[in-house]
């Protein structure tokens, strides 16, 4: 509270913040409301990074200013971004869970001379809207397309796709369908269901009737996935041997305790599992669990935020704390490092993150908890969505 007041008082005009002793980073995310857990993960990732790497780059102190945007609301997103840039004098904008919110901010960047580091929003096109956008999360194309290859390898011939009827769902469906057809597979039916669906039994009936060997599904992580996976079990699809395939949003770690046994054996492809076996990840998970408080709440947006901070630190280092968006973005193009999720790099052209995508299976650990067990790796995946859009 005091900090915010002080910074408000100290807020000076935009251009005079160059060479400032404190570099401010404005983070916009869903910190309350239905997606509060994802915002909490943003903060955990950022806190973990700063706990491990200090809150200073060179001589400059880094200060994070959080702003809450509970649901997709571009008008409010723009108002918050403008306030952060003009009033708080932030040199970097980061966070953003929903695509429209990020889209609303892109037109401001050039005039504000501020880079935007996207820690989640997963529609391919965002990076094309401004040269100052860098993304450290993933796109639905990136995480869904490898699943089609998995399906093919496992001898699945006929697939039915079931996705939530909104942007990411449609992206996911397109990515899977395009790739699976290219691999010579057959899509027997494509179902898009409203986001508000609570009872999935009729959908499962459709799946059953379609005669598919497997169902590819996408729903936003959170309460609905629980109903979906349970329904898949209760309606006897699991028993009938119809394999459930999905991007990792469906089995995010914070939902796994609730999903329990019903998710066992589910196959997902994703860019990050908390169980990933590497020293970098061990350090990260330890710090992030400490930051979030309740270890069960840790989930994938935290790693996007962690790597986002890594990119921002690099930008600050390259510019010496001076406000220069072009220089900052140029400094991270082509940058490669070992992230908790594995080796990653920022594509010099698209400014999107190139990373490994892992095939995981939900498994039960010795202590009775559930986790995503990585069983195969697709190395150095770019974003096929950008190519598909062209």
């Amino acid at each position: 509270m005091k900090k915010i007041l002080l910074s408000a008082v100290a807020a000076v005009a935009l251009c005079s913040s160059a060479f400032a002793d404190t570099v401010k980073v404005g983070v916009v995310g869903p910190f309350s409301g239905p997606f509060a857990i994802q915002g909490k993960n943003f903060k955990a990732g950022i806190d973990a990074y700063m706990a491990l790497n200090g809150s200073k780059v060179g001589d400059d102190d880094i200060e994070i200013i959080y702003r809450d945007l509970p649901q997709a609301d571009p008008a409010q997103s723009k108002a918050l971004a403008q306030e952060l840039v003009v009033k708080e004098g932030v040199q970097y904008l980061a966070g953003f869970y929903f695509t429209p919110d990020a889209m609303a901010v892109t037109p401001l960047l050039e005039q504000a001379n501020v880079p935007l580091v996207i820690m989640n929003a997963a529609t391919s096109a965002i990076v094309t809207k401004s040269p100052y956008v860098v993304r450290t999360s993933f796109t639905l194309w990136q995480t869904s397309a490898p699943m089609a290859k998995v399906a093919k390898e496992r001898g699945v011939k006929k697939v039915i796709t079931v996705v939530s009827d909104y942007g990411p769902g449609v992206d996911s469906e397109a990515a899977f369908t395009t790739t699976f057809k290219a691999e010579g597979g057959e899509i027997v039916d494509s179902i898009r269901m409203p986001l508000s669906t609570n009872d999935f039994s009729p959908i499962m009936q459709r799946v059953k009737d379609s005669g598919a060997d497997a169902v590819f599904a996408f729903l936003p992580s959170g309460p609905t996935t629980l109903g979906f996976v349970k329904s898949y079990n209760d309606n006897g699809l699991k028993g009938a041997g119809i394999q459930l395939l999905a991007p990792g949003d469906l089995t995010q770690e914070s939902d796994l305790p609730a999903l329990g046994d019903s998710a066992l054996g589910m196959l997902t492809t994703f860019h990050y599992a908390i169980s990933h076996d590497s020293p970098e990840n061990k350090t990260f998970v330890e710090a992030a669990r400490k930051a979030i408080g309740n270890p069960a709440e840790l989930s994938f947006p935290s790693v996007g935020a962690y790597d986002g901070m890594h990119v921002i630190y690099k930008m600050i280092e390259a510019t010496g704390g001076e406000q220069n968006a072009q220089k900052a973005v140029d400094a991270v193009k082509g940058m490669a490092w070992e992230s908790p999720r594995g080796p990653v790099s920022i594509d010099g052209e698209t400014r999107h993150i190139t990373q490994n995508i892992y095939l995981r299976e939900v498994a039960k650990a010795d202590d009775g908890t559930y986790y995503n067990k990585e069983i195969a790796t697709f190395e150095k995946q770019g974003d096929p969505g950008l190519a598909a859009a062209k």
Partner: protein
């Protein structure tokens, strides 16, 4: 009852010869607050612009809820229609003059108002409330489905309005958008003040008090309400268009139940049945929300909830309604 009395009192004063003075004072108050906002928060103009756009939505909601007694939880359907109309005009038809976009928004909102009104008037009371919810969900789903036109859930991006009069561009600091918005709000406010005092406005209030009696007098209840709905739609549509122009993105949230419910909450906080109440409610609620959510982005919702409960307990007629009541009481004691 108390609200009715308060309005009756206001009505009496309105009927007096000094109504022009009161209107001018009201306009002056709006412009003064707008000016103070500009001077005190020059770095927060995007928020102030957003408040202005939502104020138009709440004003338009007041026209049907406060003046006609139609409770609705779906008024964002009108607001969003205006926003999408303006946005689609800019993106798909190259109509990028801000005034033209605002006009398109108003027309879009009015058309949506006619459609929504025609459905809404089939029900009464609780049923009407449910109809309004159904309407806003249908609008929302339609926009989601027509993603070729609306961008679906990714939002309609790429709206770039021309500078106002070819001089004042819409920039980072948002000065143009703010002044543009306040100008629209001021004009709308004056027109609405005239409207609610006109015989037509009086007829609407009469319908709220007793529709049977009004129809016995030979006036068409549904015809009048439908016209009011269209006017309300135009006002909400202007708000939506302002949102589209200043944000340059239109999202599905502008057609959502949440936005509708928030607008209703703001109206009741300020006080129904008075244009000032609508403005006071919007300003108070949105400013308070911005303030507490900046202090604690994680747990501010509880405080908002407490504010709403406090308003019901201590200002049952809304902030403006209760304040004027108190003033009247003090005045009469003298």
């Amino acid at each position: 009852m108390a609200i009715q009395r308060a309005i009756a009192a206001e009505g009496k004063v309105d009927a007096g010869p000094n109504w022009l003075l009161r209107d001018l004072m009201g306009l002056a108050a709006v412009l003064a607050v707008a000016g103070i906002g500009y001077l005190l928060f020059p770095n927060n103009l995007a928020l102030l612009t957003r408040i202005t756009a939502i104020a138009l939505l709440v004003l338009s909601l007041d026209l049907v809820t406060g003046y006609c007694g139609i409770a609705t939880l779906g008024h964002a359907a009108l607001f969003g229609s205006g926003a999408y109309a303006a946005g689609i005009a800019a993106v798909h038809f190259d109509i990028t003059d801000p005034f033209a976009m605002a006009a398109v928004g108003a027309v879009g909102g009015a058309a949506a108002g006619l459609l929504a009104g025609a459905i809404m008037l089939r029900g009464r009371g609780l049923a009407q409330l449910v109809l309004s919810i159904a309407i806003v969900y249908l609008f929302h789903e339609t926009a989601n489905k027509a993603s070729n036109w609306t961008g679906g859930s990714d939002g309609l991006a790429g709206i770039s309005p021309d500078p106002v009069f070819g001089i004042f561009g819409f920039d980072l600091w948002g000065r143009t958008a703010y002044v543009f918005g306040i100008a629209i709000l001021a004009v709308v406010f004056v027109l609405l003040r005239l409207l609610v005092r006109s015989p037509f406005g009086m007829l609407c209030r009469g319908i709220r008090e007793d529709p049977v009696r009004v129809s016995a007098m030979g006036a068409s209840v549904n015809g009048t309400l439908l016209r009011m709905y269209a006017i309300s739609g135009a006002v909400a549509g202007l708000g939506g268009a302002l949102n589209a122009i200043s944000t340059q993105v239109v999202g599905l949230d502008s057609l959502s139940f949440t936005t509708s419910a928030e607008a209703l909450v703001m109206l009741v906080v300020g006080g129904t049945g008075s244009l000032f109440g609508a403005l006071v409610g919007t300003l108070t609620f949105m400013w308070f929300e911005d303030f507490v959510s900046a202090i604690n982005p994680f747990h501010w919702l509880t405080i908002i909830g407490a504010l709403l409960i406090a308003v019901v307990l201590f200002a049952p007629n809304g902030l403006y309604g209760t304040a004027t009541q108190l003033l009247h009481r003090v005045w009469n004691k003298r």
